[in-house]
């Protein structure tokens, strides 16, 4: 499958003054969006007493799971539903297993502590929601910063009998176009190159002629407040667009529109100024941050190159719970060898690819040329 970089918009809300997310990514990497269900820390894995093959050996499971009179000690989490005081209690079953492991194999292993802590925290996690993930260079208006990827927890809630989902695939679109559209004063449309030189032209183009044709037709009406209008602006805009553009042309016009161009230029300017280096930030929208939040991250793979180690996986020093969520996600990569990747490798892969077709510090012009190149689907 051919790899292509595209401009991608993630629509947060239909109203233009709200936050926006726009970026450049290779959607063929996940064939669209990466979806992952967190790998469960299912504690049934650790109830081994029932299986005779797993008993009587020399492994540490014996020592922990069997008491002297050959009876299994069951590790049960406290019934937290009944007692609010226990609701946030830690599930110690995992901890005691591993604590014994360390004693039996002689000496403490301080380097394991972190993983075990994660394990025990992870095992008390009962929410298992789907996550959507798009790695790439995205600009996030609410935080005025670029990020290395977008991670959205797909949560469902019901209110007044309506199911509200925090994420819809329709909200994500890539612009597979090679030409924009401009509208001249007489209302004639013309295809134009998507290039910096022509930007000014269609910046004014569409909105201006639309405004003119509408304001001239509306001079008779005294408009003082929205109440008088009752949807009339929007329906007039829709009627104008319907007479002027087919759906394909509408998509070109959308990209050529001043608002999207403005957003795109912010992104391109950021890349031109700061280069294609990881930003060590990820935009996360989850149960904890339903309005979205930018978290600081570290990539162990990059860190360990300096320390000659072999660690990997994402780190999120300031938000341990987000790190735990992210570490449990694994996505099916659909390009190259097609293996499962975690968030960290996906982000680093995408950076590597973008830099291989652009460079470390591409200009706006080079980026535009690439994301709007022709003949790709």
């Amino acid at each position: 499958m051919e790899r292509t970089l595209r401009l991608v918009e993630i629509q947060q809300s239909v109203l233009p003054e709200d936050d926006w997310l726009i970026g450049i990514t290779d959607l063929s990497y996940f064939k669209g969006i990466g979806f992952s269900m967190p790998v469960s820390f299912d504690d049934t894995y650790f109830i081994l007493g029932e299986d005779p093959l797993l008993r009587g050996g020399q492994g540490y499971t014996d020592i922990i799971l069997e008491s002297g009179d050959d009876e299994c000690i069951s590790f049960e989490a406290a019934d937290s539903e009944d007692d609010p005081l226990l609701a946030s209690g830690t599930d110690y079953s995992g901890v005691s297993l591993s604590a014994h492991d360390r004693e039996e194999s002689g000496g403490l292993h301080p380097d394991l502590v972190e993983d075990e802590l994660q394990f025990s925290m992870g095992s008390s996690w009962d929410r298992q929601n789907l996550f959507a993930f798009i790695p790439g260079v995205f600009y996030c208006s609410s935080h005025n910063t670029s990020v290395d990827g977008i991670l959205i927890e797909v949560t469902q809630s019901e209110i007044l009998g309506m199911e509200l989902s925090s994420f819809r695939t329709e909200a994500i679109r890539s612009f597979d176009i090679s030409r924009g559209i401009s509208v001249d004063d007489s209302g004639k449309t013309e295809a134009v190159e998507m290039s910096i030189e022509d930007l000014g032209q269609f910046k004014a183009g569409l909105s201006a002629s639309l405004t003119e044709s509408l304001t001239s037709s509306m001079t008779d009406i005294e408009v003082s407040s929205y109440e008088d209008l009752a949807f009339s602006r929007e329906t007039e805009v829709a009627q104008y667009l319907s007479g002027m553009f087919s759906l394909d042309d509408l998509k070109r016009a959308y990209v050529s529109d001043a608002i999207l161009i403005g957003q795109m230029m912010t992104l391109l300017h950021d890349i031109e100024t700061n280069g294609l280096y990881p930003k060590f930030k990820i935009y996360v929208r989850n149960n904890k941050y339903p309005k979205g939040h930018v978290v600081e991250v570290r990539y162990r793979t990059l860190d360990t190159i300096l320390h000659l180690g072999n660690g990997h996986g994402i780190e999120c020093p300031l938000e341990v719970d987000v790190e735990l969520q992210m570490l449990k996600l694994s996505f099916a990569k659909l390009i190259g060898d097609g293996k499962e990747v975690d968030i960290e490798s996906a982000i680093l892969d995408i950076y590597e690819y973008i830099r291989s077709v652009l460079s470390y510090k591409p200009s706006k012009k080079e980026i535009m040329k690439l994301i709007f190149q022709e003949g790709l689907g």
């Binding site: 629509q11 109203l15 909105s207 949807f231 329906t235 959308y254």
Partner: protein
């Protein structure tokens, strides 16, 4: 006695669907189409306003979802549901252009929170109108 917006919504929606199915020619007459479409979206706004206190922070999200679902049912009734994927983008486009128009024509007070529900519903109404009437190339 006034009729609750929920009932208005249900009757206007089924009226629209029946009409669209019975005479597809309506799609060629923007005025008739709009007279059928508008009451559906106006009643959506009324439903939201009536339940504003319950919806609280989810108000925008709820409005978008309700408009989306409603648009789906309308498109579905004339077997054009494959256009649904383009609905958010067209709605955004309509909202973009309308917001430019609002500021140019001096109606700036609509850009506050009070009118968000109306503007969201209106954007979906516009988008749906476009999708029902646009030329397919």
């Amino acid at each position: 006695m006034s009729v609750s917006p929920e009932i208005t919504f249900r009757t206007t929606l089924s009226n629209l669907r029946t009409n669209l199915r019975a005479s597809p020619d309506i799609l060629n007459d923007p005025d008739i189409l709009l007279t059928l479409l508008k009451p559906v979206f106006i009643s959506i706004v009324e439903i939201i306003q009536k339940n504003a206190s319950v919806l609280d922070e989810s108000i925008d999200e709820f409005t978008e979802s309700l408009c989306f679902e409603t648009s789906f049912r309308i498109l579905e009734s004339i077997e054009k549901h494959d256009l649904l994927i383009d609905l958010p983008q067209v709605a955004r486009f309509v909202a973009n252009e309308s917001s430019v128009l609002y500021s140019i024509t001096g109606v700036v007070d609509v850009l506050d929170t009070e009118h968000r529900t109306k503007r969201i519903a209106a954007a979906f109404l516009g988008a749906l109108f476009y999708l029902l009437t646009c030329k397919t190339s």
